[in-house]
């Protein structure tokens, strides 16, 4: 997928260079140049860059290992962590990811499309399970519900409102965290906040949605200790549904 994308983007890039510079393009580039760049270093996994752009944010992931430098559209979109305050987490991470040729998420395998996934760890054990759910078609809206059942210490996941099976009901030996309502937006601005839901009280409940048409992401922080981080993917999803724009290509350049 990476190679094909690069092939399709190259002519557009040349067109951009030949095209008369218009004010909108200048504005876009100016915004891009002035955009804040957030970098998060991870000694093992690499550096995660978050560039604010006119369309949202662009993530680039560069790992220290040889051959792992990935273009911005080949990365784990949202390898999020929903980790409890317990030392032994139940649900490790869940979200939407894409990894066409760059990196594989554990043994879920590489995937050439955006997919919903979840990875969980058995309480007090050394085992992890990873599962891909459904592909995320361009234009589709995917909603993940991650919640604790009222039964102490069991997690559940729903994809688009449907339960995903029993594999992710895990034994938890410690008390569930209190419900929190703090909401954070991952994208620029806070215009896409989701509603608070306490449907699964007294369980903690996290929900976010991924709108593949626009790339909006909603992120909710459940409690002070449970956190979900998200890396917006606006431009990447634009690439799915629309031809690459000059601005998008500009972002690719270091």
């Amino acid at each position: 997928m990476t190679r094909s994308r690069q092939r399709t983007s190259a002519p557009a890039s040349r067109r951009f260079l030949r095209r008369p510079i218009r004010s909108s393009a200048l504005l876009a580039v100016a915004i891009w140049l002035a955009g804040a760049t957030l970098a998060r270093s991870d000694p093992d996994f690499g550096t995660l860059g978050l560039d604010q752009t006119r369309f949202g944010s662009v993530v680039s992931l560069v790992t220290p290992a040889a051959g792992l430098a990935q273009p911005a559209d080949e990365f784990v979109v949202q390898r999020d962590v929903l980790q409890s305050e317990n030392t032994d987490p139940g649900l490790i991470q869940a979200g939407v990811y894409r990894s066409g040729s760059g990196i594989s998420l554990d043994n879920c395998g590489p995937h050439a499309a955006y997919v919903v996934f979840a990875e969980v760890k058995a309480a007090n054990s050394m085992a992890y399970r990873c599962q891909l759910y459904n592909d995320v078609s361009p234009g589709a809206v995917v909603t993940l519900d991650i919640f604790r059942f009222t039964t102490p210490g069991t997690w559940g996941i729903r994809v688009n409102g449907a339960p995903t099976g029993s594999a992710y009901r895990l034994g938890f030996t410690k008390a569930a965290p209190a419900i929190g309502t703090e909401i954070q937006s991952a994208g620029p601005g806070n215009q896409y906040l989701t509603e608070t839901s306490t449907r699964y009280e007294p369980a903690g409940h996290a929900r976010w949605s991924v709108y593949t048409t626009t790339g909006r992401q909603h992120v909710r922080r459940v409690t002070g200790s449970d956190s979900i981080s998200a890396y917006p993917m606006v431009d990447h999803l634009w690439k799915i549904t629309r031809p690459p724009s000059p601005v998008t290509i500009k972002h690719r350049q270091p």
Binding site: D44, S101, N107, P110, A122, Y128
Partner: protein, 313 residues
């Protein structure tokens, strides 16, 4: 003359009767053939699917029945896979699954077999959403449901993940790919690292190519190979699994060293599941990168770097 006419009429009647019987017999054979044929791709949803036969093909002595789904979803069905004792019961002296990776690995393998069975069954049973593996008594050890229960689709009738490469490669070619991967691994790892390799070939779906492979490696010291896990797990799976371009129904890789340390990966293609069990004494790198060049012969998945299981820090 009248007598001759009577004989002719009788003969015609016999011919008609024989023809009728033949037609009935042929129709019956057609129905039987159709029923057997439903074991293949695109079988009629109305014909009962021989789930017990699928289970027995994957694991001799195993059986399976369809039961109501656990979740309150209308029409959802669950496959209860009953496995023989050696496949689901830890041997005497084994530690609890929370602390003994060999016990956890045994359950991971049992759940993997159930996932293989359910994956094939799900291609024929649109309402099948979940599976559960139990022992002959219908029970599970405490905490084992994590390994033994799973899902193949989220809702009844939902399409299974597309796996266009499945059934396109002959079992002989798959096996050659695996054998070549093993040879490349043995050659690429430090000399003497691999003591023994054994491969078990599992016919998951006799009506198609439908194979899965279970690879067991015995190594000298697993800790010394921790930076080579990209070769051991991703490299060994080259051209076979995981992901949408998988060519096999499943692949299990279990590595154990002389000190009893072990690490394993169990991948079930159709259910898009993977289970990893890693001995806590082995600390994995954050990114597992293959160093050896594995030749992709089947056109299936490449050996690529992998982000190992666990939380992102």
């Amino acid at each position: 003359m009248r007598r001759l006419r009577r004989i002719l009429i009788t003969a015609a009647g016999v011919v008609l009767l024989v023809a009728g019987l033949s037609a009935v017999l042929a129709a019956g054979l057609f129905v039987v053939a159709g029923g057997l044929g439903s074991g293949g791709r695109g079988g009629s949803a109305k014909a009962p699917v021989n789930v017990a036969g699928i289970a027995a093909a994957v694991t001799p002595g195993a059986s399976a029945v369809l039961i109501a789904g656990r979740e309150p979803v209308a029409g959802a069905q669950r496959l209860q896979v009953t496995l023989p004792a050696p496949a689901i019961t830890p041997p005497p002296g084994s530690g609890p699954l929370q602390t003994d990776p060999r016990t956890a690995s045994l359950y991971a393998g049992a759940g993997w077999r159930a996932a293989l069975i359910a994956g094939v069954a799900a291609t024929k049973i649109p309402r099948l959403t979940q599976y559960v593996a139990t022992d002959k008594a219908g029970g599970q050890a405490a905490g084992a449901s994590f390994y033994l229960d799973g899902s193949v689709r989220s809702t009844p009738g939902a399409a299974l993940a597309v796996r266009p490469m499945l059934d396109t490669v002959s079992p002989a070619s798959e096996r050659k790919q695996l054998d070549d991967n093993i040879a490349a691994l043995r050659k690429g790892l430090p000399a003497g690292s691999v003591l023994r390799v054994s491969v078990r070939q599992i016919t998951v779906d006799p009506s198609a190519h439908g194979m899965a492979y279970s690879v067991a490696l015995r190594v000298t010291d697993l800790r010394r190979l921790r930076f080579r896990f990209g070769d051991v797990f991703a490299g060994l799976a080259t051209g076979l699994a995981p992901g949408p371009d998988s060519t096999v129904e499943g692949l299990a890789i279990h590595v154990e060293d002389a000190a009893g340390r072990s690490a394993g990966s169990w991948i079930a293609t159709r259910s898009a599941e993977g289970t990893t069990v890693v001995d806590p004494r082995i600390h994995l790198p954050r990114v597992m990168v293959p160093h050896i060049h594995f030749v992709n012969e089947t056109g299936g998945p490449q050996a690529i770097p992998s982000a190992p299981a666990g939380p992102v820090k």
